[in-house]
Structures are given as C-alpha cells and as structure tokens.
Amino acid sequence: MSEAYHPILPGLILGLPLLGAALNGIGAFAWRENKTVPTIVGPLAVLGAFVVCLLNFAAMRAAAPHDPSLVPLWTWMSSGDLEIGVTLLFDQLSVLMTLIVTGVGGIIHVYSVGYMREDPGYSRYFSYLNLFIFFMLILVLGANYPVMFVGWEGVGLCSYLLIGFWYENREFSDAGKKAFIVNRIGDLGFLIAMFLMFGVFGTLDMPSIFEAAPTTLLAGGGIATAVTLFLFLGCVGKSAQIPLFVWLPDAMAGPTPVSALIHAATMVTAGVYLVARSGVLFALAPFTQAIVASVGVGTALFAASIAVQQYDIKKVLAYSTISQLGYMFVAVGVGAYTAGIFHLMTHAFFKALLFLGAGAVIHAMHHAWHETGDHGDPNDMRNYGGLRPLMPITAATMWIGTLAISGVFPFAGFFSKDEIIWEAGVRGYAVLWATALIVALLTAGYMTRLMVMTFHGANRSGESARGHLHEVPAVMWIPLAILAVLSTVGGWVQIPEVLPLPDVDLLHSWLEPVFAPAIEVASGGAVGGAHGEGLAHEAPLGGGETSWAVGGTGLALLTVIVVFWRLSRRRYLPAAESAEPSGAASLLYHKWYVDELYDRLVVRPLLAVWRGCWRIVDDRLIDGTVNGLGGVARVVGWTGSQLQTGRVSTYLLIFMIGALIILGSLAF
C-alpha cells in the first residue's frame, strides 16, 4: 500500500453542479433568450465534476485504501444524542458511483444541448439537470442516512420537476405528480427505517452502524428484518419495483435526455445502491434478502412481458429499465453485491445509449413533422420503420445497445447479466435462476422488436415527412458514439476466469473492501438459510459456468436473429390505421391493467374519502370553527364597543369600580 488516500477537492464535486444549477436558474429569469450561457455552463459544470471524480478515482487506485475516507463539512443538527453532520463518504463504491453519475450525466448534458436547443425553457432545463446531478452526488456520497436522504429527496424533486418540464400539458404535469406521490410512499419506508436505526444504534452514521450491526443486531431477528424491509420499501419506490413501479412509465413524459439520465441511468438505480451500501444490514436479514430477490425477479418478468406489446418507443425502454432494475435487485438480494453494481454500471451505459438513440429518432420525427405540418405521435413505433438508411449512426449505435442489453457476447450486458444469473444459480435459487434466464430471452425479443419496428422494414412516416428525416447533428450523435463504445467495452472490467479470455478482475477487487463486511456476515455460521452454505459449482440444471455463459449468449443471439427474421416480414400499419390489440396482446398492451387496478383499489376510495373530508371536515368543521371564531370575535368586539359610550361619567364610574375591585382585593 502506497501513501494514504485523501479526497481531492471534495467540495468541487458538489459545488460545480450546484453552481451550474444556480447560474442557470438565475439565467432562466435573467437572460431567458440567451442560449450560450446554459450551453457552456450546464455541461461544463458536470464535466468539471467528472474530472475531479476521475482525479479522486486515480488517487484512490494509487493508494488502495481499505478504510473509507470521511470528509466532515459541518454539523447539520445536534440535539441530545442525535448528532448529524454533513459528512461525505469516499470509498471505492461511492467513487465508482460518482464516476457513473458525472460521466454518463456529462454525456447526456452534451446531448441535451442538441436536443433541447429550441426549447423556450432551455436555461431552466439545465438548471434542473445540474441540480439533479448535485443531489445525486449527495445521495451517493452521503456518509450518514439523513444526508443520503437529502439527496434521495432532492433527486425525487428534480425528477418531478423534469417529468413535468412541459408543464403546460396537463397530462405531463400529472405524470410528475404521480412520480412524486408514489415515491413518497417509498420515502416513508426510508424514514421509518432511519428512526428504527437511530433507536437501535443511537447513530445514523453508516460506518458506525455497519461496524456495530453484526454484534448489536440478532441475525435474522425482527429488528434487522424490519429495518431492512423498510429500507427496501424506499428502494421499491425509487427504483420502480412491484408494486410501486407505475410512476416510471409515466415519467417518460419528460424530455428524452431526462429519461435517459434520471429514469434509466442514475436515479432509479439509487435503490440498488442503497441495498448494496447497506449490505451488512441486509446480510443480517435473510428474509428481507429473499423478498428483495423475489420482488426483483418478479418485476423483471412482469415488466419484460409488458414491454413486448408496447408501441411507444419510450414506454418499451421504460419497462425495459424496470425489468433491468429487477435484475439488479436479484443480484443484491442473493448477496452478489458486486454483480448488482456491475449491472448498474453497464446498464447505465447501454440504457442511456438506447434512450438517447430513441431521443434522436423522436427528435428527427418531430422535426420532419414540424416541417410538413402533420400531427402524428413522434413516439409511436408504428409510425417509424425503415429509418436505418436515413439515420445510419443512430441505427448502428442503437444496435450496439440492443445487443448489449440482450446479453450478447462481447457487449457489456453479457458480462454483468451472466454474472447475476450465474450467482443466483450457484446460490441455490433455482426459480430465480430460471426466471432470470427467461427474462433475458424476453429482453432480447422486445429489444429486437423495437429495432425492427424503428429502423427496418418499410417506412410508415408518410411520403412528405420522409424527405425531411435526416441524421441528428454531431452534438447529439457524438454522445451516442461514446456511449456505444462504453456499452461495448464496459463489461470487460470483469471477465469470468472460466472463459478462454484474458483474466480481468478489476471490479471485484476494486469493490472488495466495501462489500467484504457484508459477505463476511453472510457467510458467518450464525446466519441461517442459503447464505451459510457453500456455493454450488453448477447451475440448477447441471452444467458448469462456461457452458452456461456460452449457452446463454448463444440463446440470446438466437432470439435476436429469430425475432428479427420473423418480424421484419410482418407489415405494420401507421398508428392512426392500427387496430386495438386483442386477446393476450391486449392484456399486455394495457400493462396488465395495473393502473386501472390501482385506480379502483387505491385512488378512487381515497378520492371518495377525501371528498368526504372536504365536504364534512373542511366545509363544516374547519370552516365552521373558523367562521364561528370570527363571529365570536365580532360579538365580543361589538359588546366591548358598547362600553365606549363617549360619556365621561360612564368612564369615571367604570374607573371607580375598577379601583374599588383592586382596593377590595387588597382589603379582603
């Protein structure tokens, strides 16, 4: 070990995005028409933070510290036993997360310059986006749960602001509110978990809690289970898992780069980060682990099945995101934290790529229709088709993204997804393993369907519009290219040693100090359940790691080819001429009617209760009380004013009686 690691310029990492947000926020009022300032300030703030993060990463690599570095900034609240400081935690995990956030975030900022250029809210957009990066960095760098919660709420706020960015549209602002409210249910869980932890540990600092947990908490006991379950409730809300996933598809109302950054690459993965960060606690609660993994795999399957029948390109990607998040929860649920973070990272690359590619298509369609004056839905894939010759770069990069998410070797998704499925298998979770495999094939299927409908076959955008369709400008396709490269090589940091390839083990060794305590707890004899047993060396159906890795990628590739071959022969009709899907397809097209179900079970009863509250409690009780008090004041005032007769003799009489009362009270 070389010299000790000290965080480099930690204030700058947070300060630059915050400064950017402030400058652009002022700009949204002060120089609304000026597009130069946001163009420079917005991306530069994030890229500057990215450079600082890179420096930190390099310094940490050189030092290879085993203990996290804490950067205390100031005391936030101090009350009795409660002592909470604004403290930043720099360890291998948080530095990796800052790299992902600022790196992918920076690329998307650059892309946004092209995408949002003509929007009247350009400066406001960059203000929100910078603010989001700031809060996301607080979330990943917070050294105690309250600071993390500030980031957690902050990204939720930015998400709300950006989903409802085009607030003139009622539907869009409603989608923002939906996201905010659904997230609030999860946040309640996070808060309760914090109260419980403070009650048990007397502190909310993560390092202290993780150190004390194995001795303080009974493994598998009620408290550990309760704390982790409530934490997971927070994750379910933020990361859009069953049953709180409904907000994420609606969140696509925001600008597409926002969907790429917040609702695919970074914010929604916060839940995975929280579980991985609190690994020690989760390792102590096998029941919660099982819940996490089950919810994860259930969500993965459920969302993937819906994605198969969606026609809105962003909805497909949204359900795909939910599905991939399910994978990550499977990984952290079975205790394979590194695999979860690995998939988080690769997913950030290829999902950002896919969303930005979709954004490029939407951008092109929007402009083409703007030129011709047609009014179609630029998000509907039924209106696309045959775009590959017109937008070659977008098509090529998106194909890379598709192959990556499908798990085709040698793209990034293969390595991370293979690791998750394998880890689930060897830990003895046969059902998880099998379901995860099926979902992988479904993923390959619906992503290929998306690509076929968008870029292949006959063009359905209409004769006049076709002439106006062309490739997006360089400021938008260069980020696509960078992300395509990352989606290709991103998986190479962790190559399974069983494959006949150079043995690369960067990620596992890098994150080892962070996850060692959790793994130690999990493998400790005291813990019951599957964690205590040794790992199997075969998949549940037999067969070694090598054969399943090769077989998996083969199956994925086969699915891509078969679906491509089948669907490119099908003739789609433009959205306006298409019939409603029927039968099983209808069930999937309507997303299993979950929104309708929630509407019936939750929204309408609550609305009824609240209407009652409004009519009875508000109108009668509260208004009655307030008006009554006003009336009482009026009567008292009127009575009092009658005392003021203007006659000196009355005053004298009252004055004398008052003097008498005072003297009398002295006398008697």
């Binding site: 004013s641 003799s649 004298l652 009489l653």
Partner: protein, 102 residues
C-alpha cells in the same frame, strides 16, 4: 405632646373626604363641579400625606407641595379646556360631550 391618635383620626377624615369627592364626581353633571370634586380628592390625599409625614419624616410634606403645584397646573389647563368646550356646546353638561367614541 401626645396627640398621636390625631394621626389616626386624620386618616379616617381623609377617607371620608375622598369618598365624598368620589360621590361628587359620579353625582354631578356640571363639568366644573366634577373638577372641583377632583380637587377635593387630591386634598384628601394631601391630608393623608401630611398625617404620615408626622410619623415618618418630612418627605410626605414635600410630596404634598408637588401635588399642589401639579394641581395648580391641572386646574389651569382643565379650566381652559372647559372654556374651549363651552364655546362649542354653550354648556358644561358632561352628558352632552359624547363625540369621543367609535
């Protein structure tokens, strides 16, 4: 010289004079007479001060001097006010002065 009990009697007298002054203030409607009753009350208090001064030292008499000078000032201003009001109402009946209210 053992007329100490006279002090007691002086205090009783003072109480009676004060009560008569109060009765006059409440009973009369003529502003000038009400004013005179106030003067009577002041004098009743003066009598108490003088009586106490006999027991406790000269300071009581000093206070009486101040009360007399304040009473003089008050009489001057008060009578000027009554004069001014009379010019408006052509009367000094307190019942007529009812403008000072809501």
């Amino acid at each position: 010289m053992s007329q100490g009990y006279l002090v007691d009697l002086a205090l009783v007298l003072s109480a009676f004079l004060f009560a008569i002054g109060v009765a006059g203030v409440l009973l009369r409607r003529n502003a000038i007479i009400v004013f005179m009753c106030v003067e009577l009350m002041l004098n009743a208090v003066n009598l108490s001060f003088v009586a106490f001064s006999r027991m406790h030292g000269i300071d009581g008499q000093i206070v009486v001097l101040f009360v007399i000078s304040v009473a003089a000032a008050e009489a001057a201003v008060g009578l000027a006010l009554i004069l001014a009001i009379f010019r408006h109402y052509e009367s000094v009946d307190l019942e007529l002065f009812r403008r000072l209210r809501w």
